[in-house]
Subunit: 533 residues, 2 copies
Amino acid sequence: MAWLRPRWPRCAALRWRPGGAAWAPQPGKAPGAAPRGPWLPHGGRGLRTASPGLGEVPLTSERYRVRRLPFSRLSPQDVAFFQRLLPGRALTEPAALEPCNVDWLRSVRGCSTLLLKPQTTAEVSQVLRYCSERNLAVNPQGGNTGLVGGSVPVFDEIILSTVLMNRIISFDTVSGILVCQAGCILERLNEYLEQQGFIMPLDLGAKGSCHIGGNVATNAGGLRLLRYGSLRGTVLGLEVVLADGTVLDCLASLRKDNTGYDLKQLFIGSEGTLGVITAVSILCPQKPKAVNLAFLGCQNFSQVLETFTTCRAMLGEILSAYEFMDEKCMELVEKHLKLSCPVRDSHFYVLIETSGSNSTHDEEKLNSFLEQAMTSGLVTDGTVATDDKKIKMLWSLRERITEALTHDGCVYKYDISLPVGKLYDLVTDMRARLGQSAKNVVGYGHLGDGNLHLNITAESYSHSLLDAIEPFVYEWTARYNGSISAEHGLGFKKKQFIQYSKPSEAIFLMQRFKAMLDPKGILNPYKTLPSSS
Amino acid sequence: MAWLRPRWPRCAALRWRPGGAAWAPQPGKAPGAAPRGPWLPHGGRGLRTASPGLGEVPLTSERYRVRRLPFSRLSPQDVAFFQRLLPGRALTEPAALEPCNVDWLRSVRGCSTLLLKPQTTAEVSQVLRYCSERNLAVNPQGGNTGLVGGSVPVFDEIILSTVLMNRIISFDTVSGILVCQAGCILERLNEYLEQQGFIMPLDLGAKGSCHIGGNVATNAGGLRLLRYGSLRGTVLGLEVVLADGTVLDCLASLRKDNTGYDLKQLFIGSEGTLGVITAVSILCPQKPKAVNLAFLGCQNFSQVLETFTTCRAMLGEILSAYEFMDEKCMELVEKHLKLSCPVRDSHFYVLIETSGSNSTHDEEKLNSFLEQAMTSGLVTDGTVATDDKKIKMLWSLRERITEALTHDGCVYKYDISLPVGKLYDLVTDMRARLGQSAKNVVGYGHLGDGNLHLNITAESYSHSLLDAIEPFVYEWTARYNGSISAEHGLGFKKKQFIQYSKPSEAIFLMQRFKAMLDPKGILNPYKTLPSSS
């Protein structure tokens, strides 16, 4: 059983860092100036990456021909007020504003002229009270790592950054409950917790930049959801400032609390449109003592599914990730990033991670499963890793797919939830539909969560290609009761497609909640919901 | 290490069945006719059990002097409409209504004259549309196993029972997602799932009677929360009928869906005041292949806490329950139910359950922990069980405490969340405060979830005893940022105490949500929230 031995070639264990060198645009491969004009009727079809240099990112307002809502314009008196309120932390310098006006995919750009960096909840409250009275629009911003244009202004909204709200308030080692300000960076929190034998219940490629407040505001999913569940279960409390400046203190640090409606849930995943999250209370699992990883090859998607049900049954409580990628993904990772896959000649690749409290037991379980998977012919080749370095190397094959895609040309990105049995049919159907008009149609994602990342690349942007993809991809998803946004949210780019996943009664109700909580609509306007008019 | 061997004396493995023989009132010990009058200013202080026979339960309207809101009175024309809509399922016979008008604790009683048993969502929608137009109040009812008077009418509200909505809609063995109607009984669902290798993610003493819709409407906690998390994470979708009859179909069966606000969360735990849950989609874990149970004795509460942190670290992912009870609980269980405890002479008892996929591994982990706990002196005595019968017997020591308490006289029940370190201090303080005026002051509960069940018994009801308990117990809880209702909800009996656990801004917002979703207030009136006037 040679395949059970770790046999990994050398490879740098890089992590996804938005804005980092790995993401530098590729001149010559970029699609050039982004398309604009009336042929983008929905205000944002097709999430395209590998855009041109900073100065060249077109203004969202021009690119998408969206109309500015009648908010007040920022006056010198307003700026003076904020500079008095936040001395040295109300910035108007273009150099300070530039990175906050553009998303990290470099696909949308606002033209805000004021960046506020409050440190306390009271300051956020004062900012919003003032903005509400003055009818000034506000764009709450965390680490600005979002993928749907939700984290940057569309026009001149004031940017309210949580970057200086990075204080850990408390951690209880008996209960595992962490309370911290919204601007804490996910990776810093995890490092802090690891010193005490705990970890954050979520992990994302963007962890080096993203803020926990932004994670909660977008209900981030990521790599640990299969094991530790969604933020809707692990977030125990929130402190939120409403549009009018009211501070809603629901920052309980209790596992159970059935006193009235669970208001915090409304703010989880609301993308800053209902309130600004200023602090988070979250239940953190213990740091696993043993982590193992298996990277396997399967010949067809049925085997990928059967391998999943088999490993879930045999690994049980120690299964912590089940990711898959197709051979096209692997080709791109090898071609563009020069990574080398230790498993060869498979149509699908599967990454299985176990996390447990006893390395001997975990390895026994994993080996039993692998033997079963091999002898039954589910898996044709594979490798395992138990040490940190090799685990990271194997993870990078999966985590760096997004990066490899940006090197392949213009990328159309879709983040779909589907019943697992149907997951790959969308890729197959899309591939057949697009034929030679696409360069590559690839599928990968969090199979254990029913989450497919469908990506389509082409040498350059093409209107007809987009028309061939949309609304087909959304209609296909709706036909199987899937979600057109599993974990990325709707933001600016997908808000018009919500009806493919939610009935009109639900959308209407959401609009009523928005109108109730933010009657002037100043919080993150143009995002999440289609306009109610 | 004799204490590691199972050594359990024979004992019937009874389960809590509301309304069952085990709960028969004890004449002679009952507090007699319930107190009424102006000395119950909050409309429901003190949850008293062991009430008199069915006919003797006083009407809530008289007992609590609550004022009927100006809903319409049911007319013969109304009854005729419902009998046409639900032939044979719109009941007016007193015999049919009697058990639905009284809660199973026999502490509150309404005087409804109409019981509706819809079978479909469309029927529920038609019922509510009619009631909304006619301004008729409605009391949604599941298994009627609630503990805070939320599940029975206060006056003459129409009882809308989910008893005939008991259809399993689908179960996906790959994803483990179950979709079913709201009236399915929890235990039946679990039995159905077990045949397919899965279990429900929640388990309650009342499982033989309670409906899954009621569980979700009350955000039930129970015995598996430590392992599988709360319903806020496991419930994936809901179908809800709003007060005006609108059907809100958010019945997604997807693990991830970030398209807009998560409306279903508002209905989870809203106790039927915002809408009637008609169907549920829920993520079910695999059935564990091995279950072990250890019943241990500790000499003080610090040891109970340290035993918890030790076993959480050593048992890790297989720990599925950590329950505790004090010696007073054990005395009552032995005295009133003639159960015998295999572990002697301890001030505290701890029940630890493991659930895992490999019995050998699990037993190894458990034995390592037990050795560690014994050698370090955390635990002074104990027994373990691995077979079903003995496991049930040991569980009954914990599960039947509530029953034993009803035999001890008049019971004042409190369901409190606190930081675990503070959990037992409330019992100690209360015992010192009450002195000889109480018969017994006992504490037990889900320690792993920070959930204390504080119970106080007395020979008979006493106004001065209640005054000594309340609001002290709520003030004490608020001082440590606890919750005055961890899992029971607020219902009718605790709605006036919400301000001890929620700030006024939050209560105000809840009232606005209620007013928006149910402007006439017809859904489960007099419950959950204090009146907004």
